[in-house]
Amino acid sequence: MNINATLFGQTIAFVIFVAICWKYVWPPIIAAMAEREKRIADGLEAAKKADDSLEEAQLAFDKELNKAKVEASELIDKANQRASQIVSDAKNKAQDEAEKILSSASKTIENETNNAKEELKSQMSEIIIDTTQKILDQEISPEKHDDLLKKAAAEL
């Protein structure tokens, strides 16, 4: 238990080992650890960034999708409108046409009827006159005949 020069020997050994540790052991370990820490931090950062960009992309995608949906529905609306317009136009046109046809047809019919009536009238009056002439030729005097003619003409 006596104190002797071992004391200084140990002091010197201690200093030497601290120096070795300081020069050769400590820095690479600390550097490696710091680097790993940095890499992990970078990785986390990158992951976060990727997450963010994914979210952004999702947002953009949603936006585009919505826009497309709106556009599509607008388009469909327009198309529907157009279609209904076309249909109604066609309907109107058809109705007009039909009316026109109807009216022309009725006009024609009227005309025909009138013509037929006129013809019929004239034919009938001729027939009547003929018949009456035939009858009157026998029984009526020329005076009476004239008289009758006048009467008939007035009646007609």
């Binding site: 002797n4 020997g9 140990q10």
Partner: protein, 279 residues
């Protein structure tokens, strides 16, 4: 030999270092001439083991390095990094105001080295001395930290570092001022010198003696347990084995704790040396 083997001589034998020193004829390791060597003698066993364990520390911590990757570490590297991180964490929690790149390596060296030296305590007390006896060395003490020279030597190194950094950080004037002007102001300088001086000197001595005392007591208990083998009763011998295991398990805690405390106190002293403001 069997005749002179009493408990007292057994213990004495275990507590005597292999001492080499200079006598009139030159260098010798003769245990009977230790008295002649005076101060300039070396405990070759303590020094040898401490240097060997220091090399073990360096090799152990260097070995992890060639393979140091920044990928997930494994095996030895994992252990090394764990220890370094632990030390670094402690240093950072104590060294809040100042920074010094040397503190980390000092703390790491102290903790691992002291722990390894303490760990030699767990080697059963007779193995290595008996081996040494086979080689022809009469005395051989294995655990370096049971030698006060070793612990006080390290404390001395810490003490010198403390003074060095005190002067470096505060300047010579500040350092002397801290020693002389402290508790009572400048009109009581002699009293201050005595008080602060005692405080100043007591730090390294208590630092070294604490480690030494703990390890010495532990070693002593191990030796006494080993002594039980020499009692005539067989039952005592069996009991000794259990006692040895129990004490060793408990002692592991003390070994690690003392290494850790030596480190923490060193860092605290060095941190105090870096503090510039008055307190």
């Amino acid at each position: 030999m069997a005749k002179e083997l009493t408990s007292s001589s057994y213990i004495q034998h275990h507590l005597t270092n292999l001492t080499c020193g200079k006598v009139d004829e030159g260098w010798t390791c003769d245990p009977h001439r230790v008295e002649e060597m005076g101060f300039w003698a070396f405990h070759v066993d303590s020094l040898g083991w401490s240097v060997f364990l220091g090399i073990v520390f360096i090799v152990l911590f260097r070995l992890g390095i060639p393979k140091l990757t920044t990928e997930a570490p494994s095996g030895l590297q994992n252990f090394v990094e764990m220890v370094v991180e632990f030390v670094n964490e402690n240093v950072r929690s104590i060294f809040t105001s100042a920074t010094n790149p040397l503190i980390g390596p000092i703390a790491l060296t102290i903790m691992v080295w002291v722990f390894l030296m303490n760990l030699m305590d767990l080697v059963p007390v007779d193995y290595l001395p008996e081996l040494a006896k086979g080689v022809g060395l009469e005395y051989f003490k294995v655990v370096p930290t049971t030698d006060p020279n070793i612990t006080l030597g390290m404390a001395l190194a810490v003490f010198i570092l403390t003074i060095f950094y005190s002067i470096k950080v505060k300047g010579l004037k500040g350092f002397i001022g801290e020693l002389t002007l402290h508790p009572f102001g400048k009109y009581m300088i002699p009293v201050n010198i005595v008080l602060e001086g005692v405080n100043f000197i007591a730090k390294p001595i208590s630092l070294g003696l604490r480690l030494f005392g703990n390890l010495y007591a532990g070693e002593m208990v191990f030796i006494l347990i080993a002594l039980m083998m020499f009692f005539s009763s067989f039952a005592f011998g069996i009991m000794g084995i259990f006692l040895h295991v129990g004490w060793a398990l408990f002692h592991i805690l003390i070994l690690a704790l003392q290494a850790f405390i030596f480190m923490v106190l060193t860092v605290v002293y060095l941190a105090m040396a870096h503090e510039t403001e008055d307190h």
